[in-house]
């Protein structure tokens, strides 16, 4: 498979064209926005959190297939998770992408950090300039969780 085929897997194009949970939340929620100034990709995230658990999420934004698919897949895995689990997922995802997560990286194999569809984004690693596209929703998630 060429690296382009690996990059643009079917599941990614599917999430890009049919993003899950697109829109905004109406009830009480946390809101965060991310911007990638170098390419102009935008991502915004609403989270409903009850008793430390993410009970709902909604996304908006525009950008390349990678950033939008990453965001869509992200909402798929974080809803139903606790804040701590969402942070674990974030670290796991970033480690998979080869992004430095600082001093205290989590054990990527620990239970709870199952990435599912997101693993399709592994092909992005071969395109260093696109890694920040894949990462944009996750940086935005971290901002949101920091407000919780």
């Amino acid at each position: 498979m060429s690296s382009l085929d690996e990059l643009y897997r079917q599941v990614i194009l599917d999430h890009y064209r049919n993003p899950r949970r697109r829109g905004s939340l109406t009830g009480p929620h946390i809101h965060a926005e991310g911007l990638n100034p170098s390419c102009g990709d935008e991502f915004s995230l609403d989270l409903q959190i009850e008793d430390g658990v993410i009970t709902d999420a909604a996304i908006q934004g525009q950008g390349c297939s990678i950033s939008q698919a990453s965001g869509s897949m992200m909402t798929d895995v974080i809803v139903g998770k606790t804040i701590d689990e969402a942070r674990e997922l974030t670290a796991t995802f970033k480690l998979m992408m080869g992004i430095d997560v600082g001093d205290d990286p989590l054990d990527p194999d620990r239970p709870g950090a199952v990435l599912g569809d997101l693993e399709a984004l592994q092909g992005v690693k071969k395109f260093p300039v696109r890694i920040k596209c894949a990462d944009l929703p996750w940086t935005t998630l971290t901002d949101a969780l920091d407000q919780a």
């Binding site: 060429s2 690296s3 382009l4 085929d5 990059l7 643009y8 079917q10 194009l13 064209r17 170098s38 390419c39 102009g40 990709d41 935008e42 525009q62 950008g63 390349c64 297939s65 990678i66 939008q68 395109f127 300039v129 696109r130 596209c133």
Partner: protein, 410 residues
């Protein structure tokens, strides 16, 4: 067809490969590649004449000064200025526009005055005026674009009154290739005594420019977009405008005398060139305009029109492709922005890059225009004298590959 392919061997980088394919460089609107003639001029300067300029009584410094001032004269005659003193060297178009906005604007504009811009301006011709507006309470007014991607002049007469002090317009859009309506602007401005600033970042490199004929007040351009090194650009100004403009940077070289509390300025153009200037880069700029003059700017323009025409024709063969810009190559420059089906511009650039084809994707430092066009981003191919129709063919092949990767039939 003007065949300039023999020039390609002057550009060492064009023989490199990218991702296993020969480099197809289609991003000259962002920055151009450099011919050996320019690289050698810069190198020779450092190897034989390097010294600081203007302040030395010794041979080496005199040679460096001659080289630097010689470059000023070359750039002046390239745009048919009446004197080298009308050329102020700067870091580039952006820094020239900031010079004008601060040096002229901050000192001559006041509350209620208006600056007229267009929605197609590059951020470099928007943000400096916004910064001045913060200090001076001036108003920015925009001309919009019509559906043929031309600046909409229908409201111009109503817009132009004595509140208008400056009209600042791009000579050629870096997104749509639209030619700015400079002549109309100059006439409109004269009727109310307003100044016309022309952002020539895309105009000067790509077509013959004659400032006496243009009759604007200021013209700015960047060296790196016309074969010269990075770090150098120019501001041309009418002598009386340069006289009335205040310096924006203080330091060495730009003074006649410095006291503890007050100073007096050196004559134009030194008044605007504080500190050690980009000496070697100016020398390279001189070599670049020599190169362009030898090719002939008419030839450059002809070649680009032909290649742009060819590109428009071939791009029309790609289903779901929309070009944002005038369709007649006579009436536009060689920056061709487009979208392709629902494939994001960034994805297009990545896919083309895998074919060795380098195009830009994004907002092209023209967010107001993106909003006007209602697109978040476009892909852009832009051409220069070294590009060929074969490269256009590669581009089109790459776009078909993008379609297939995104599951669209060809």
């Amino acid at each position: 067809m003007t065949d300039l392919s023999h020039l390609r061997e002057d550009f060492p980088i064009l023989s490199r490969e990218v991702n296993g394919h020969p480099l197809v460089y289609l991003d000259s609107a962002a920055t151009t590649q450099k011919p050996i003639q320019v690289l050698d001029a810069v190198d020779a300067f450092y190897r034989t004449e390097n010294a600081n300029v203007h302040r030395g009584a010794y041979t080496l410094s005199a040679e460096a000064t001659d080289a630097y001032e010689g470059a000023r004269a070359k750039v002046a005659s390239f745009i048919n200025a009446s004197s080298p003193n009308e050329i102020v060297f700067s870091r580039g178009a952006t820094s020239s526009l900031n010079h004008i906005a601060y040096g002229w604007g901050l000192n001559h504009l006041s509350e209620g005055d208006r600056v007229v811009l267009t929605v197609m301006e590059h951020h470099s011709n928007v943000v400096p005026w916004q910064l001045v507006a913060r200090h001076k309470g001036i108003e920015l007014v925009y001309l919009t674009m019509d559906d043929r991607y031309e600046v909409d002049l229908s409201g111009l007469d109503d817009l132009i009154d004595e509140r208008v002090k400056i009209i600042s317009v791009s000579g050629m859009s870096n997104v749509t290739g639209t030619l700015g309506p400079v002549r109309t602007m100059v006439e409109a401005a004269r009727s109310v005594g307003a100044l016309v600033v022309v952002d020539g970042a895309q105009l000067v490199p790509h077509s013959p420019t004659d400032v006496q004929d243009l009759d604007a007040d200021f013209l700015v351009f960047s060296g790196h977009k016309m074969l010269a090194p990075t770090g150098i650009g120019a501001m041309w100004g009418k002598p009386e405008r340069l006289e009335e403009m205040e310096p924006t940077e203080g330091g060495g070289e730009m003074i006649a005398d410095v006291g503890l509390y007050e100073s007096r300025w050196a004559p134009v153009p030194q008044k605007f060139e504080a500190g050690t200037p980009p000496i070697a880069q100016a020398v390279g700029f001189g070599a670049a305009v020599d190169y362009l003059t030898a090719v002939g700017m008419e030839t450059v323009r002809d070649h680009e029109q032909e290649i742009t025409g060819y590109a428009m024709k071939r791009l029309a063969e790609v289903p779901d492709l929309i070009v944002y810009g005038p369709s007649d190559p006579e009436n536009r420059g060689g920056a061709v922005s487009f979208s392709l089906a629902d494939i994001h511009a960034h994805d297009i650039a990545t896919i083309l890059d895998q074919h060795g084809i380098e195009v830009r994707a994004g907002h092209h430092c023209a967010k107001p225009l993106m909003r006007h066009l209602q697109v978040p981003a476009t892909a852009r191919a832009s051409f220069y004298l070294y590009n060929t129709t074969d490269e256009v063919d590669s581009l089109v092949d790459g776009l078909f590959d993008a379609r297939s990767l995104f599951g669209l039939d060809s």
